[in-house]
Amino acid sequence: MRRCFVLGAFAIGGLIMASPLHGQGWQVRLDTWYMSYAYRGYQLDSVPVSDVTQASSGGFESSDGFAVKCVPGAAFCTYFPPSEAQRGNPLWSTLEASLWGLGIQGLSFRMKGRVGTDLSSPTVWPASEPTVQLTEAYAEYKNNWLTVLGGRFHESSRLNYTGVDGAKIDLFLFKRGLELFGYGGWGMAMGAPLPVTSPNINPLDQFQPQKRQYVLGGGLGWQLSGFQGRAIYQREIDGNSDQNYLFSERAAADLMWRPVRQITLTGGAEYNIGIKQWGTADVTVSYATPNRFLSTSIGWRRYRPFFPLWTIWEAFSPVGYDGAWASLHVWPARGWELRGKAEVFGFDETETASPNVTVANDGWRWTLGGGYVGLAKWRFDFDYHAEKSIGASATGWYAAITWDAMRKLMLTGSGGRLIRPLEYRYNDANTWNAGLRIDWRPLPDIRGMIEARYYIEDRNRPDAAAINNWEQVRINAGLTLYFGSGMDTPSLHPAILRVPNRRSE
């Protein structure tokens, strides 16, 4: 009932917002999309031991040809045959609204929320609950040296997305060359617009905090000529403990240095104070020729997963890996683009040597592609990729031809193939796909797209669990509407239109 009320309010709010308001500035973006897709998972099944025979390979199989696993002494043997196809039909609408110019220069209100569901039954599309999700909603006051906001907002940094129900203050000093900021409030779950206590983010019924965590963060940023950086510290405090136990305690810094115009050095690192270990880190050097002939980057990166301290996962000592990579973009002639990227990486020592299972310690990946945009209404793209790694080996290609038929209509035909052997499951997946996409922009503030893509999938196995030539058609469709003050300016990029006061000055 409560959901219906909220939903109704959402719809009514949309109707109200759709009619002209009298605020000095307001903008709304409504982004609605629909997908229809199918996939086949697996379902656990079993057969009595008496129905199992020994196959020529030495393993066991059921009478109908499925490879099974039998535990000595058990009455049944288990196996995972493919399940029936499941088709999901998610329909979601994201509403983003801004309102400013309410008599106080620099005051604005912003919100971003979603409403939707999976039209299939039972629900297949993940994260379909709750049906109304509020990502951001805050009031903001801004002037040349101060920004204050309160409500639900997010903080994006090297520490990833952190949602907060609280407040944030930014101070800008020395002609905005120095920024000091701090924020605090009740935190959201990692990567979700929901609190960590929500049952919707705990489908496997894991251990879960009973109360939301408090978030405190702060840092500083600076902008010197050619040298910019930002450092952040963040602490998440368990709201359920009297001892101020922590969910996490981390610090990170990002730097950018441009010694000369064509060379940029960027880098940063995260230190997980809570476990006394370094987290992700990377360094990249980029060079671009002035005449847009060549752009290249080389870099090193380290990845280590982050788990909050309320989970037990850090006790399993996850390890990180170091990777070195390089990329190159060349525009050798007018309209032509060639691009490539390669990376090699290796994991830290895990101290888990086992004769039973062989796991690679390192891997590599590379991509090579190109494009041609030399014809007025045509664009051609092609990419090939190959990777070899733990659990992640694959090869494939993708090609697309785009016909920009007219300014308001664009057609793209594309196709590709993916071959993906699975390292831990006896199963080689192989898919072909081909599709047609139509992008439609009848007016500057209306954008739509629809795509139909045909798939053929094989899962090669030497038993009855194999799937051959499984076909399906997936549909993607989206419609984005912009309306509000300032939207009567043709051909402007949406990013510009959404900056408050940009057009009202």
């Binding site: 996939y39 930002r230 730097l255 990227k341 994991f347 499951r425």
Partner: protein, 328 residues
């Protein structure tokens, strides 16, 4: 309920289409008028002040050009040849956040004359003068992160935004969000970095990502958890697909490429624990590791830090007290 949601979305849609402001002309921006070439330097001796001809500049409704009759004072066919010229209507560049009226008053030559140029050697604004005055320390159009919106309504894409910038923009955005904010608002980040389902209209994930996503997830080419909550997104879908386990699935043979996977999974787990967690809950692991030490490299240092900040996870196995803490 689903019907109501569909109805609600349809209602908002129809309202948006039906009652939005009148659509703007779809044609491109107005074309800058072509002014017949006029040599300021040739007339330098006659006009030593800009305001003699451009007196209306900066005045609301004022004329930016002199009347043709003013030129005809000399170009009358007797003193000087006649000229066929009529003052063009002033059309400000629609891609500039600039009007003479709103800009702080500066000397005309500050913008319309290159440094060191001769008197009255003036012309269209010298872009470098704008950059220098506004403190933009980079060349026009090739600045890695120039505050384009200082001058432009529709900012030309900075030079840095080519190539694989989409993949490596993170550090630049994090180190200097102010530069991004000159063209983007905060919520632009959420179009891709959204804590929810990816939208096909944003195009963040390529076609066939449903099939290829395990590759990227295992290899951490993209940090899935920065946008997707593992529980809400990964586990939710894997439950529906029959991949997720909450009942000792490890022993049932899903990982059938190696019959001994359950007893030799340690290295794979430490290397790709996030992938394990996408299907397995804590109970799956605790069931065996309650009696089998799961701690690995560098644990001594890590254990002290964790125990001092949040020992509740430790007590899942160490029910009698945490070793070394005096409790057991």
């Amino acid at each position: 309920m689903k019907a109501l949601i569909t109805l609600a979305i349809a209602a908002v849609f129809s309202a948006a289409v039906g009652t939005g402001p009148a659509p703007a002309p779809a044609d491109g921006p107005a074309v800058q008028p072509q002014v017949q070439e006029f040599s300021h330097t040739a007339h330098a001796a006659l006009f030593n002040s800009c305001s003699m001809c451009h007196s209306g500049v900066g005045q609301p409704g004022g004329s930016y050009y002199p009347d043709a009759s003013f030129c005809a004072t000399c170009h009358n066919g007797t003193m000087q040849p006649r000229v066929d010229w009529t003052p063009p209507a002033y059309a400000p560049n629609p891609n500039l956040n600039f009007t003479h009226e709103s800009h702080p008053p500066v000397d005309c030559t500050s913008c319309h004359q290159a440094p060191g140029a001769a008197a009255m050697d003036v012309g269209r604004p010298v872009v470098e003068q704008c950059l220098a005055c506004h403190g933009i320390d980079a060349g026009h159009k090739d600045a890695p992160a120039s505050p384009c919106a200082t001058c432009h309504v529709q900012a030309p894409m900075p030079g840095s935004h080519s190539g694989d910038f989409a993949e490596r923009h993170g550090v630049e955005a994090a180190s200097n969000p102010e530069a991004c904010a000159s063209c983007h608002v905060r919520t632009d980040c959420l179009d891709c970095h959204r804590p929810s389902a990816a939208s096909p209209s944003s195009g963040y994930h390529p076609a066939d990502f449903l099939t290829s996503h395990p590759v990227q997830a295992y290899a951490r080419m993209a940090d899935c958890s920065s946008c997707h909550n593992i529980g809400q997104y990964c586990q939710d879908c894997h439950v529906g697909a029959g991949l997720a386990s909450s009942d000792n699935r490890m022993g049932d043979g899903y990982h059938d490429a190696n019959a001994a996977f359950a007893t030799g999974h340690g290295q794979a787990a430490r290397q790709a624990l996030e992938s394990c967690v996408a299907c397995h809950n804590e109970g799956d692991c605790v069931r065996c590791h309650f009696n089998a030490n799961p701690h690995g490299p560098g644990w001594d240092k890590t254990a002290d830090a964790i125990a001092s900040r949040n020992p509740t996870a430790c007590s899942v196995c160490h029910v009698g007290g945490i070793p070394g803490s005096g409790g057991g």
